[in-house]
Symmetry: C2
Amino acid sequence: MAYVLKNSKSPFTKIRSVPVDSVKLTDDFWSPRLADLRQATLPLQHKKLEETGHFFDFRRAAGLEAGQFKGLIFYDSDAYKWLEATSFTLASSKDDDLLRHALNFADLIKKAQDKDGYLDTYFALDKKSDRWKNLRDNHELYCAGHMIQAALAFRRATGNGELLEAAERLADHVIDTFGPGKKEGVPGHPEIEMALVELYRETGKRKYLDEASYFLNARGKGLIGGSPYYLDHAPFRELKHLTGHAVRALYLASGAADLYAETGDPPLLKALSVLWEDLQKKTYVTGGVGSRHEGETLGDDYELPNARAYAETCAAVANAMFNYRMLLITGEAKYADAMELAVYNGALSGISIDGTRYFYANPLADRGSTRRQEWYECACCPTNIVRLLAYVPSLFYGVSQEGIWVNLYGRSEASIELNGSKVVLRQETEYPWRGKVRIEAKLVSDLKFSLNLRVPEWASSAEIKWPEGKEKAKPGSYFSINRTWHDGDAVDIEIPLQVSLIVANHRVFEDTCRVTLKRGPLVYCVESEDNDFDVWDLELANKDFKIKDDFILNKKIVSILGKGILLRSKEEWTYAEEEKANALIARQGVDFKAIPYYAWANRRAGPMTVWILAPETADPSKSGQEISHAKQRIKQNI
Amino acid sequence: MAYVLKNSKSPFTKIRSVPVDSVKLTDDFWSPRLADLRQATLPLQHKKLEETGHFFDFRRAAGLEAGQFKGLIFYDSDAYKWLEATSFTLASSKDDDLLRHALNFADLIKKAQDKDGYLDTYFALDKKSDRWKNLRDNHELYCAGHMIQAALAFRRATGNGELLEAAERLADHVIDTFGPGKKEGVPGHPEIEMALVELYRETGKRKYLDEASYFLNARGKGLIGGSPYYLDHAPFRELKHLTGHAVRALYLASGAADLYAETGDPPLLKALSVLWEDLQKKTYVTGGVGSRHEGETLGDDYELPNARAYAETCAAVANAMFNYRMLLITGEAKYADAMELAVYNGALSGISIDGTRYFYANPLADRGSTRRQEWYECACCPTNIVRLLAYVPSLFYGVSQEGIWVNLYGRSEASIELNGSKVVLRQETEYPWRGKVRIEAKLVSDLKFSLNLRVPEWASSAEIKWPEGKEKAKPGSYFSINRTWHDGDAVDIEIPLQVSLIVANHRVFEDTCRVTLKRGPLVYCVESEDNDFDVWDLELANKDFKIKDDFILNKKIVSILGKGILLRSKEEWTYAEEEKANALIARQGVDFKAIPYYAWANRRAGPMTVWILAPETADPSKSGQEISHAKQRIKQNI
């Protein structure tokens, strides 16, 4: 999960990460989730990992227990991801139980490692002779990558470097095994690329960066069969489309972005930009990615089914990871917009509002059959969403030589090291529920730096006030205030949070004549629990919305109230002649309530939809406020 | 494939089939296809079946050749289906080569059969001990069913009863093996049910009917695991929804309909009616069925993706089979409508216009990547579409005690035996291209009977003239003329064939604000070859259409010409705020051409769509003829 390090060179980035413990969130959106994460989610996951054999597999490989390997071939990675998330959490807050669990597991990992550095508990004991035999399917490099990332996070959280030494031994073993003149191969599931670059950043050892380059550059030569499913059909720099398994594709792109951050290879950045543009045609309005259940794959351009969306939680996490890297490289706000979208919607929907249950797939419409589960045999999603959640504080800020970048808003206090000086920034806001933000600087002495404030693309306008001035800022950019800051100086940002209607390109078959309600960074949906009718039959009546401070379980939300027209079929019908369809439908005015998409499926099961039928024509009584849907407006332009 | 027999009792049917050779088609729609079938398709299939090992497997089982079994576990069934189609073809027309191939294969089948009657070449020799071990997956009863149906067709075509004797031995072996007090089980892939009922009809032996009943009644007891995928989760009579594998579900329903035809069990008919209604919510506008690629399954209600439609050719064939049976049982025109729809569209699209290539999946929208193939390793679809094509003549007519039923129209001469008298009916028409039909009766002597003329549900009106009168007939019914017919008496049917716009229920996400053009029984699509723009960007401009006599390759079609508006995105975009979407699209008037859906993908590859964006608002210059799409009309009713 972790990214560009503040102390690393990463010469080809505009922005560097801040440590996860440098930002303390005190808002009512993230901070209760982070408290749940520490108190409920991570302890429960530790229990599940024990129950399902993940830790047993390590004890077995370490010779501490006997029996058959339990679970799936990539089980090690789930446990490593838990350790990474737990480490981020421990970096931010103290928890004796979690710390003890983490220390024990770290100790166990070291015991399970072979003398030669190899580590994968599936290929221990009787399966030793199968090591490195099938890079496409066996996930050894994938597990190795997660081990390295867990070790890095663990060292940063605890100061204990022993696990990182083990990670270096594993990485060295990988280097000894793979490369030109050695065994040739690339992983079926990318991950090692990001891990090796990050290990390079931490240790300064060039060999890790070179090995990451090797794995990227060896793709497209058919070493694992040459299939587009694995993005092995063409060299990465020549790819025009992201294909195949959504998570693998986005992990590979993330690894390539990490490589660019260190190497600055222009064709790599060009390819990443092309692939990012391609990705936008394959991304849900929630930031979810990967439309097909078959093979967990990306669909064709604009193939974005709603009820049948796969939109795996891991893929939304990966989408956030990729966009975060692109943001750090370029400093361009569009990547922050895409990251925010995925984090606040498509990824966050992957975990229940109390942090105890998970989605693997995240449909955008449902009849009530999709429910979060306490665990999955394939536990990649539960252990991925916690990595992202625990890392959220770090996403809020970035630093550069010139100053500080504010990527996300939320009540918080950040303590940021800027060229040797400490800058404390206090955010006072109710974001994402309200659009007013005040950022106050606490400084030991005056300091000249630029404060780069993200103005979200979704904002209709934004006004920014600082001690010397006031300006309208352009949505979809960073607004830079370059001055000498004095202790107590404050900036006020005002972004009106109105409800906006989002429409989709007409090539998205499933979204034609439908709209999504969005407010600020949050995509909304209508769910049966709040509406006493079938929400699949709801047509928007007009554009008049009210917002309401509300709760789901004990978590604060803002809901949207509006007027709709309910389309009720008088008899069952699927197709009708256009002229006869009229008679088949009864229409009735209704009030409806919409809630943030991430919060759906936390109450009773029932129909849900993100895309609502667009208002058909104006209500004559609402003259001046009426809305006809986008296509009708377009029509006026003919 | 074959159905209720003219000589059987089938006491619970309103209509009986006529033999396939009793109707000679001379039209320009079917008769060129049937000529291709005999001259090209069936000989080519014979060659493919030889090349891919299907016949080898029989020779191997017969001890005539050595080696490993070739192909898939159900390969026998493909060869049987070819023999069934070839037999229907030989019944209608003479062909020495085909006859020789059929006789040789029939001989080979007998040699491959075990002394105890068992027959399945996969489970021959070394695999004998695996017989009947896994009814869910091993397709033995499925293959047995196809063997029986092939033998019945072969006997009727050639008069040679030896293969039917072998089929009876196989059926007896099945009876000896399965039933109460014997081995209990039901097939994972239904088919045996239809076959056994038909064998009962042919032989009059009750035991075959009883065994078919057993297989239906033993379902829902978990004998093959109790999964909805196999419709084994509840007794058939209690089912409310068709679930799981589309072809299996429809074969089971067809078998159940066959059973009802003989037993008249009221709960069975009730269940069939409920399942038929359910099926309508899972059927494409083309009559295709089965929306999901995963598991070749039926989707949820209204889950009908276009580009990702699976709509397997076999499932459309099965849909036609099921509706044909329901028509025979009830005499209700709605089943004839559904049968016609599937036959002329969703099934017929499964074979190229020259009869040499096939679709397995039949999408309703495409970017140009879906192309017909010469063969499939799993050859169920090629050998199923030929069964249906060869049987089409039989679908045209039915008989009952009271008279004759005309189900389909097309230039033809039928020679029908009615209560011992011969009635020749000559149809003079250009249907399906024109809506005028004249039916002339040729009789040796005067004969009193009812002539029941199908008036399609899609007709806007219909006028029927007979010697004594003239009447407007109700679309969606059979119009009955009960009189004494004299030689040379004629009936004129006039059904205006205008282009109509079909809309879908708003719960079909993919079809919202889209229309399908339909003319007569034919669903149309727009394809790139006929239009110099991307047809996915086409919006209908108005309701003024011209038709044009046309050709695709050398086959006659009628194409539809119309005016559209092309929506061109000025930049790439997926989502936009409704108010900004306006500026992203350029609109331009275009002429377009639509062709019958069944004829698509016979020329160069490119985008295609059945569902076209609906016209948004009326063109003021067309006052009186303008069209606003269905939802707008509905709006006027508020």
